[in-house]
């Protein structure tokens, strides 16, 4: 359901053209749990931005659920992000001074969908934050903030959960908790999860590892587990 064909991305810095992605072919099926690995500068952030519809490729095709999103305009990309993609960021990126519940409601507000409060509450319960619903981000621990962010990503029932270094700011215990949560969501709800990380330990939780180097895929294998 995610198909990338010959995707390239070139950034222009003044007069110099910097190639970030140099021809990526990648297929990710429903229910897959893929870890995208690579050193910094390997192009994994660029790839994430394109998969997350935050950016469009310079050339190539990106087909998400039968839609070629490579040529869509800003507002159409916003629609797709809203409906089909759930983001989990390294720095949680909850909106400050806003309760966990209202943060989780936010995507539904932009979608213009009803029953927001009940659905947001449900999503928070599913990530184990039932008792933190009315807390603001500053009143939550790092692990709890990341759970709230995962609840926000799940609430619109998106096709992919896109996690960019979700454990980068967390201690080992919280990291393991968050990875267990993602694994559970993948196993129980068949969520498609794309995980960006540079840590082997974290990538181990995924069922498939794709490694990038200099804007090309150099490894793509399923783990034995």
């Amino acid at each position: 359901m995610i198909t990338l064909e010959g995707v390239t991305k070139t950034y222009r810095m003044g007069r110099i053209e910097v190639p970030a992605l140099q021809g990526i072919d990648l297929y990710i099926g429903r229910g897959d749990f893929v870890a995208i690995m690579g050193a910094s500068g390997s192009g994994k952030s660029t790839l994430m931005n394109i998969i997350g519809c935050l950016d469009v490729p310079t050339s190539g095709r990106y087909i998400l659920d039968d839609t070629d999103v490579a040529r869509l305009a800003d507002d159409q990309l916003a629609r797709i992000r809203n409906k089909k993609i759930g983001f989990v960021f390294q720095s949680y990126n909850l909106i400050p001074r806003t309760t966990a519940l209202h943060n989780v409601e936010m995507p539904l507000i932009y979608a213009g969908e009803g029953g927001r409060s009940a659905r947001a509450r449900e999503a928070l319960v599913s990530v184990g934050l039932a008792d933190r619903v009315n807390h603001q981000p500053t009143e939550l621990s790092g692990g709890q903030q990341q759970r709230a962010a995962i609840a926000r990503a799940l609430v619109t029932n998106p096709a992919i959960l896109l996690a960019d270094e979700p454990t980068g700011n967390l201690d080992t215990n919280s990291s393991v908790e968050i990875m267990r949560l993602l694994t559970r969501l993948n196993a129980e709800q068949s969520r498609t999860i794309v995980l960006i990380t540079h840590e082997q330990d974290i990538a181990r939780f995924a069922s498939r590892v794709v490694e990038l180097r200099d804007g090309r895929i150099v490894r793509d294998e399923r783990s034995a587990a």
Binding site: N49, G52, L54, D55, D74, D75, A78, R79, R81, N82, K83, F87, F89, N93, L94, I95, P96, R97, T98, M106, P107, I109, Y110, A111, G112, R152, T156
Partner: protein, 415 residues
Amino acid sequence: MNLYEALRMAANGLLANRTRSALTMLGILIGVTAVILLVAVGNGASVQINNQVQSLGANVIYVYPANARGSGGVSQGFGTAQSLTQADVDALNTRQQDPDVVAAIPIAQSGGQITYGNQNYFAPTTGTTPAFPQVRNYQVAEGSFFTDDDVTARHRVVVLGQTVVDNLFAGTDPIGQTIKISRQSFRVIGVFAQKGGSGLGSQDNVVVAPITAVWAYLTGARGKVISQIVASASSAGTVTQAETEITTILLNRHQISDPTQADFQLQSQQDILNQATSIATALTLVLGAIAGISLVVGGIGIMNIMLVTVTERTREIGIRKAIGARRRDILVQFLIEAMVLSGLGGALGIALGALLAMEAPKIPAIASSSFPTPVVSPTSVVLAFCVSVAIGLFFGIYPANRAARLHPIEALRYE
């Protein structure tokens, strides 16, 4: 995204930085207060002038001698123009050629020190005929007005306005008392009811006596001068016809064929009212415009703060875009924030302005002066509110548009 959510987001954003929001609002608040207050003062002046002119009688026509001018074009100097005579007054009162003129009275003015006991006061003394209360719209509150017999016999009797009574008779009944005007004794036979009004010269600061007595005892060497004739038309609507009739009669009597050479001039209360109203309107506009400048300054303050807010919340904007906010959603969010800021400032400014307008007349220094009582008009309230919201919209567009155009990736990376 519905309006409720948008307002909730705006409130959230504004509450996040209370001091800053309050200070920004203060800019609009002061501007709107100034507009409301100054327009109220202008309106008050307009109402005051209107009342005053109305109290003089909207159907009143004044006839003045033209500037003194000799037969050969030689100026004869001030005070020598005696073009108006008692015969003119009598002619106007026959009502044969002037059906729209109800009555006409001659006026002879004399200044003079007025004393009663050890009190003294200065007020103009008006010599006239018994039709004075009818023509000038005065009511006699106590005693009575003088009669034709008093005029014929040059009786030294006077009717006083309320201000004169207050200044001369502290508590004692003036009726039957004798006062002295320029050392001549006059007996008080009546007191006028209060007319109110000030500014153009109080209507209550009058001393009225038979014109013959004024000529005989007060104007002295100047003789039987009539400084003006006051005529009343049958109604405010017939003033124009009455003016034409008076002009025709007087031109005939003075044997002048060319109306431009007339040795008299007419002014109706309507003329005065029109002039006064246009002055008051201009005053209101100028005051409003000056206050409007401070509103624009307040608007620039809003733009400034919204630009800071957008920069500060770049990351939040990135998050919102990542989870599906479209340009329009971000634009509306910040526009509504700016409009809530200015609208709230405007509403508070209206409240403060109206409060000041109501309380100002109670300040002793203002109460004792002839400063007009401010009148807050509903139009200015509605207009001020709409304008302040519009200012939020206008000055919010640039910052909000800037926010809406941010690229999500760059916004998310912003530290």
